[in-house]
């Protein structure tokens, strides 16, 4: 359509973690002409901002992602497969991808998000991994966020296993406190965790360059989650994983790559991952 040349759509993506993170991009002829990142503490502020942008440009597409445990991946589009996995179809909505696999979420989650924000696009978090995944055979992807670690395992271009690990509330509380207090509550658990890593990879001690307790905890948690996922996957009879890809939103130090390779013996790569940019990328393809 000729008019498309003159239209400058806005793509707004947001998600909620400890607060609301938002990215507003404006494109003209598929070229980025404006970009704005925002953080909001309250839902009201976020909705007001979206309303303001939408009223100034009717061609505004609002997208968000489900960042909760109420979602998953099934390596089939067949309803029988869902029943086999014990998922009640009445309580979920699923979308079939390429007629090979599907993503699902609960009706409750869907209702909550659509009622509050009325988004144009609502994506499962695994869709973001799926769109970014380049190696899709015996590869484990882990997407790290502040609240969850999302794991997706591919075999023959199909996501065959997914898992979501919630990061304990403790961590969130921990981060919110003052740095002085952090030192005070550096409890035995963290030190023990740190010791574990040291024991397993003494050679890397120098490379770690005195990481903060917080960082170490994150790395530890990621490794633990990968281990748990692999354990469960192998128990279910999954093939040997040849590659691990960490989609990092937290700026984890690159040392984690060595840590994992030394501990789990699987080639690991760390990729920076921008959730908001990826959401907008899918939305742009959808419009």
């Amino acid at each position: 359509m000729l008019l498309k040349i003159f239209i400058k759509p806005n793509f707004i993506s947001f998600y909620k973690e400890d607060k609301f993170y938002l990215l507003n991009e404006q494109y003209k002829n598929d070229k980025l002409i404006f970009e704005e990142k925002k953080e909001f503490n309250t839902k009201k502020e976020l909705i007001n901002y979206i309303k303001e942008i939408s009223s100034s440009n009717p061609q505004t597409y609002v997208s968000t992602v489900i960042l909760s445990q109420n979602q998953g991946v099934v390596p089939s589009c067949d309803k029988k497969e869902y029943k086999k996995l014990g998922i009640e179809l009445e309580n979920i909505k699923y979308i079939c991808i390429k007629n090979r696999y599907s993503f699902y979420t609960t009706i409750y989650e869907l209702m909550e998000l659509t009622k509050s924000f009325e988004p144009d696009f609502l994506y499962p978090i695994f869709a973001l991994i799926d769109i970014k995944a380049t190696s899709k055979h015996n590869t484990l992807y882990i997407l790290t966020t502040k609240s969850f670690n999302f794991i997706l395992i591919y075999k023959d271009s199909i996501p065959v296993y997914s898992d979501i690990f919630e990061i304990e509330e403790k961590t969130t509380e921990f981060k919110e406190e003052d740095e002085d207090e952090i030192e005070d509550i550096s409890d035995i658990d963290i030190i023990e965790d740190f010791d574990d890593i040291l024991d397993e990879d003494i050679e890397n001690i120098e490379e770690i360059n005195e990481p903060s307790v917080e960082e170490t905890k994150e790395e530890y948690r990621i490794i633990e989650d990968i281990k748990n996922a692999l354990k469960e996957y192998y128990e279910e009879g999954g093939d040997f994983i040849e590659k691990i890809v960490i989609l990092d939103t937290l700026n984890i130090p690159q040392e984690i790559k060595t840590l994992i390779e030394d501990e789990i013996f699987i080639t690991t790569t760390v990729q920076e991952f921008d959730i908001l940019k990826t959401i907008n990328q899918i939305s742009r393809e959808n419009v």
Binding site: P9, I95, L110, D120, A127, I282
Partner: protein
């Protein structure tokens, strides 16, 4: 793809932009309509101008014809007046001529032509004719010829030919 929801239909323009566009659209339609109206009017006027020009040309032709007719009528009138004057003159001349006829002479007939007068009559004697009749005729006409025939009673029939200009 990948989304659990479908996007709402997005209008291309804002509500107030739509209103502006409608306003501009209506204005444009009115403007174009008015321009077309004026254009049609101009065309109609041009047609009228052509029609009137043709009428003017026809009327000019008629005027020329009428002028010619007028000239002809004036000529006719002048001719008529001329004739009338001549007739009047002739009438007076005849009256004068008849007044000139002396009592002893009797006229039988008079032929009046353009520049010729022929008189037939009877006179008791040639002398009476030559004395009383001839002088006035000679004063009027340039040439006068008289022929006499004697009748049994001794009187004369005469024929007098009088010419105004060239005699025949």
């Amino acid at each position: 793809m990948y989304s659990f929801t479908k996007p709402k239909k997005k209008p291309i323009f804002k509500e107030d932009t739509k209103l502006w566009l409608i306003f501009i659209g209506v204005s444009l339609i009115l403007y174009i309509g008015f321009a077309m109206f004026l254009e049609i009017k101009v065309l109609l006027y041009k047609k009228d101008i052509n029609k009137f020009n043709n009428q003017i040309a026809n009327l000019n032709k008629e005027l020329i014809t009428i002028s010619k007719e007028k000239e002809f009528i004036f000529t006719q009138k002048a001719l008529y007046e001329n004739i009338m004057v001549k007739n009047e003159l002739m009438k007076n001349s005849i009256k004068n001529l008849l007044d000139l006829i002396p009592d002893p002479i009797t006229l039988n007939s008079i032929y009046f032509d353009k520049n010729r007068l022929i008189i037939y009559g009877i006179t008791p004697t040639k002398e009476i004719y030559n004395m009383l009749m001839l002088p006035p005729l000679e004063s009027i006409f340039t040439q006068t010829k008289t022929y006499f025939y004697q009748m049994p009673n001794g009187w004369y029939k005469f024929k007098s030919e009088n010419y105004l200009k060239d005699s025949q």
